[in-house]
Structure formats: C-alpha cells, structure tokens
Symmetry: C2
C-alpha cells in the first residue's frame, strides 16, 4: 500500500472458529491493537472529560465529527490552530467521519439529539438537495446553506487533520426500497472514487482513507459494494449505510457482507458499540467500532457494568442512595477506585456535572477493558465464555 | 488550646508595615500555609472538577455547605458513607459553614443562584421563623419544614465530619437598623455559646470550631462581638454578618474589626475572594478567604488573569476565536499548558461542559498562585508591588 507509507495494518492472529482476528493498526500518531473502540469526540471534545482522563482510562483512539466541526468552529480555524490533535489536546490516533451520516439523517426526519445539539432553530428538513454533484443542507448553528461535495469533504478533513478520514457516501433510511438503495450505493461508489482522487492529489502521508461499503439491507448490493470497495486504493473499510431495524437484522447484514470485504484491510463498523454487539461482531471480523452510547448514557446516570442486565445500571435508582460500594468492585477506573455509588447517586440527584464526568470516565474505562478482554479471548478462542460473562442474560451471538 | 489537641495555628512572620502575617494552620488532614484560599465544594463537589484536578491545581483546603448537604443527601447519609472526606474523595483540610448565611438569605429575598440551586419550587420567603431557640425554614428540595438550632447545626457538622466547623449565627441584611443588628449580634453570641457547649460535649479531637464576629456595619457592635468571641474557647475566628454594600464599606468594616479579634487565632473572612479584595484584606490580618466567584465565573467563560482589567477575561469574546495563545502565558495550569483560548472559546460557543472544567481548573490554579505570591510578598514586604501587578487598574488598598 504505497499510497499510505505511514500507515499499516498487520493481522497477527486469526481465531480458529470464527472470522475474529487480532491486529495492529499503525498511524502517524501511534499504533493500536484491534479489535478496538473509537470514542466519540463530536465537537472536538469527548464530552465532559479531559483528554488526559480519556487517556488514563485506557483509550487508544478517538474520533471527531466533520459535520459538527465544519459548522463550528469551522475547518479553517481548526487548521490555523494546528489541526485537531493540537486543538483538542489529543496526541493519539484519531479519525473523522465524512459528515454524511448527520447530513442525510437531517433529511429523513430521524434527526438525533447528537445531530441537533442543543440549538433548535430549525424545524423540518434541513437537508435541501442531493444530486450527483453533492448535497446541500442548512447549518443547525446559523441557518446558512452549506453545500458539500466529495471533494469538499476531503478538503475539510484534510484541514481538520486527523489520521484517518472517511469518504462521503449517501446514507439511506430504514424504509428505502431496493431501487433507491441501489442508486444510492452506485452514487456512493462514484463519490468514493472522487474522494480518492481528491485525497491522492494532496496526499502527504499524514492521512489514510476509509472507503465505505453500502447497500443497505440488500445482500447483493452489499456484496457488490464490498467488492468495488476492495478494488480501489482505500486504506481501510467502513461498513456504512442502513444496517436494518433490529440488532438481529444488523448482525445478518454484517454477516453476509464481511466475507466480501478486502481481507487484509482494517474494517470499521460505523456507529455500533453495544457490548453485546461488539462481542457478536468481532466474530465477523470487525476491527474497530464507534458509538456515542458509552459516553452519552454516562451523562444520564447509566454506568456500564460487566454482567449487568442490559449491560448497565441506573445510578439514579434509589437503591444506590446509601450504597458505599463502587459501580464495579472489579473495575480499576479512577471513579470506582475513589467514589461510591452513593456519591454518584447524590451527584445526579443534585444535578452536579461531576456525576457525568465520573461516570463517563468509568464507561470509557469499561469499554477499553471490554476490548482488552475481547482481544485476549480471540487469542485464547474463548469469546463465547467472555460473551456470557459480560451479557449473561443475552443470547450468545 | 487543649480543647483542640490536633489543631494548631502558628504565626511565623508578621509584616512590618501592616497587620499581614504568614502562618501555618494545622488540622488532622494536613497543615496549610496562610494566607490561603478555601474553594467552595458546595454540594460535596467543587463544581465540574475532579478532586484530583483540584489538588493538582495547587489547592490546600476546600469547604462544603452545611445547608445544601443537610437537605441533600442529608448528614446521616454522609456520615454513614464515612464522612465528607471519604464521600467526596478529598483527603486534605476541609471546612463546613454553619448554614446560617443561606438560611437567612432566604428570609431577605436576596436568594442567590447558589442558595436556590436549579430547583425553583418555592417562591417567596423560605425562612419561616427566627427565635432565640433557632430558625425554621422550608427545604428548597422538597418543601419540607426544617428546624435548625445551634445544637443541631453542630450535630450536622459533626456527622458531615470536616476538620473545621462554624457556629450558627444570624446574618443581618444590608438594610438592618442598628437596634436589630445589636439584638442579632447578642443572639449570635448566645448561639455561639450553645454551639461551643454542644461541640465540647462530643469533642473527640477531630474538629475545631470557628466562632463568628458579627455586628454588621456598626463599629461598636463589631468590637463588642470580636471581644466576646475572643473570650470564648473557639479555635478560630470567622468574620461574618453583613459587611456593607460596597467594597469600600467592607474594607472599612474589616479594618475597624480586626484590631479587636483574638490576635493568635486564625481569622477567616466569610464569602470574600476577589483578587483585589484578598490583596487588600491580608493587610488587615485575614488568614483565609472563601468565595464561589473563581469557580462560578469559570462556568460562564470568565478566566481570572493576573493583570487583566477587572481581574478576568471573557473567553466568549470573538477576539479569542482564532487565538492560539493560552489564557495566560505565565500560567502553569493544565489548561494553559495544553489548550488555546480559541479552543476554550469554541467550547463555550458549542456549549460543551469541557470549557467549564478547563476554565475552572485555570481559575483554581490562579487563585492558588495568587495566594503563593501573597505569602511571598508578605515575607518580602512587597504587597504593594504585587497588588499593582495583579490589579494594575485598581486603587491599591
């Protein structure tokens, strides 16, 4: 892969009983073990936690969102401030997404809290137009019309300066028909080619591109997309687009897609990061995951816990009012080593920010612990046992 | 002071040209240099900062508010969780106030954000009754009637378990007449005696009591209060009650009071903590200060800065949009060492919690730096020079 001289991906172990694998993903800002979890630093901050604490909680890699940052503070300012690593004080590997997911969510009325942020100036559809050339939408910050093309998305990500960037693709909604999805997939393929051309014309070795595999829930489209993706000079693969309405559907889509992606490239599964999902999907060969859930639920008082029902506990529950124990006796995070659940309960009841911070630290640490245990279990071929330990009440994937 | 075997106050230096002094205040959780600043950890948290970062920012001592904690989570829970030190993960010296300030503010309609918190269930007066026996008020949490007596206040502080506790006194409003203030001062003296009796009947050496000096803005009352305070077996002195409507008035009240307080006991000035105020009041012999301002303004984007106009800068100002410099080139805090003002500006514009955290860390560090420089300047008799460096546009006190 001479297009990416400062990047690499070495698969050091393959599980005998599944597609699961152990790897080393090399970037200019460090090498990470895979499978691994990428924490969301949406607006250039992993919400409510200092980067030193993100690191202390065992984090190897984070991401930031192109969509949010292009609108505020703007890619030019981030570039002039020395790029995202310096701007947000993170010296490890970093990825930005293409912004496509957020832009297209705006158009489908499935706008999430994450996309809208706290400003609710605009009702209705913010996605104005999609064409072969690109997509127009309204900024949620100031209502300005913004026009994005594949070339522009690569330019923005070049200015933001993360190690890993992602091509622009069209994300189709749950209810998209096969024909619509087929056309979107084909356009995403062409957009990807334009992204690669733009990227290569400025390639200075500091970044590497993920090509996306789309095709919604349709097996033949997914296979076609995976194959065309593998033929192009992407560094890595991102499984994108609609993965179905249920977890079972998502597992199925990933299962029929993965045998067709490039076998030697790192594979990222966009936006998925439940504990059970991860334990299931590493068996399909997924190398990295990202999801806002671990940090978002922390801000609402939910702590991830190995073996807990639904993978988490609710610290607002009155049962923690006088509980001197930490969230998890076996957890070595700063929060569990120093604070009781009674204190965390009090923080949430008193609406104190510190509760959010302490539980975010715990949830980050827990995800990183999960990934360490996942890597060990792949090596030892004990993923089934590990799955039962983390999710005793779930069907084992 | 045999009533306080594990506490001490040693004055190691007295300035030749003012009442300023350097001291060592010993508590069971450590000894601090004075003059010093006590940071507010109102509801058992210095808002938005982990205690490890509070400590890393050079903090020697913090306080928590009896009023807030007795209502939520309640003194009994804090006691059963091992006391405030363990509950909130702070192993250094700690003080709690008596709760009187908040209770009496409720009665005067001057209820601050701090007192009300974010719950606005009750309009109008929450202070129901004051008598010789004690004071009744309504909880801002659940509307329950709460009755506080001097004995009860000491019991609550004993359960909370800080090193330093404060007697209950009546705080008079700005507009109180001399007669009202005289009666309040006399009652506060009797309340103080009841507090001492209650304290001594349970004294296990783990806590020490501050007696308050009241008397509002009336010189003869302040002197009488200071003298009666000095005659009782308090460990230390807290200058309490109304200090006037302006800074000048406050300076005058402290100036005519301080020559009459016990000369060998540590003196705390309740609720005062502007940079200029501190530089002025150490000259009167004040040993410790507390104020919510450094941490509160941080959460609104104001950073304290040596030499800045009005002691602070506003990070929301557009002038910081592309400013790659830290808040203060000379500051060694984690924030200034790692983040630009452009990043902090972005955090506040994007309503990200991390902005509050980073500026709180800076403001705490800056107050601790101020106090270190104050102590050095007292030793070197250079307080005037230091005052001009920190507050170049202020009249030197």
């Amino acid at each position: 892969m001479t297009s990416y001289p400062h990047f690499g991906f070495e698969i050091t172990h393959r599980a005998p009983t599944s597609r699961a694998r152990i790897g080393r993903l090399k970037t200019p800002h460090g090498t990470i073990d895979t499978p691994n979890f990428i924490f969301c630093g949406t607006k250039a901050t992993v919400k409510s936690v200092l980067t030193k604490d993100v690191k202390e909680a065992g984090t190897d890699i984070i991401l930031a969102n192109t969509y949010h940052l292009m609108l505020q503070p703007g890619a030019d300012i981030v570039e002039r401030m020395g790029g995202l690593h310096k701007f947000m004080n993170w010296d490890g590997p970093m990825l930005t997404d293409s912004g496509g997911y957020q832009i297209f969510s705006l158009g489908y009325g499935s706008v999430s809290e994450e996309v809208k942020g706290r400003s609710k100036r605009f009702d209705g559809k913010a996605l104005l137009n999609i064409s072969e050339e690109g997509a127009a939408f309204r900024s949620y910050i100031d209502g300005q019309k913004v026009y994005l093309t594949p070339e522009k998305v690569m330019e923005i990500q070049r200015k933001l300066g993360p190690d890993l960037v992602v091509q622009l693709d069209e994300c189709t909604p749950f209810h998209a028909e096969r024909d619509y999805t087929a056309r979107a997939m084909a356009m995403s393929r062409r957009w990807g080619e334009r992204c690669l051309t733009e990227f290569m014309s400025h390639n200075d070795g500091k970044q590497a591109v993920y090509g996306t595999v789309s095709g919604g829930v349709y097996e033949d489209l997914r296979i076609e997309s995976a194959q065309s993706n593998a033929e192009r000079d992407y560094f890595a693969v991102a499984i994108a687009d609609c993965l179905g309405e249920t977890k079972e559907h998502m597992y199925e889509v990933v299962a029929f897609t993965m045998p067709h992606v490039h076998p030697d490239r790192p594979v990222h599964l966009l936006g998925i990061g439940g504990i059970g999902d991860i334990l299931t999907q590493v068996r399909q060969g997924i190398d990295t995951f990202d999801c806002v859930t671990p940090t978002r639920i922390a801000r609402h008082g939910w702590a991830l816990k190995k073996g807990a029902e639904k993978e988490r506990i609710n610290l607002r529950n009155a049962m923690y009012r006088e509980n001197a124990d930490p969230i998890d006796d076996d957890c070595e995070c700063h929060t569990c080593q120093n604070y009781s659940t009674a204190y965390l309960h009090h923080m949430f009841k008193a609406k104190e920010f510190l509760g959010m911070q302490l539980v975010t630290i715990h949830n980050i640490h827990t995800m990183n612990r999960l990934m360490r245990e996942v890597r060990a279990a792949i090596l030892n071929d004990t993923l089934d046992t590990l799955h039962k330990e983390w999710c005793p009440d779930a069907k084992c994937g």
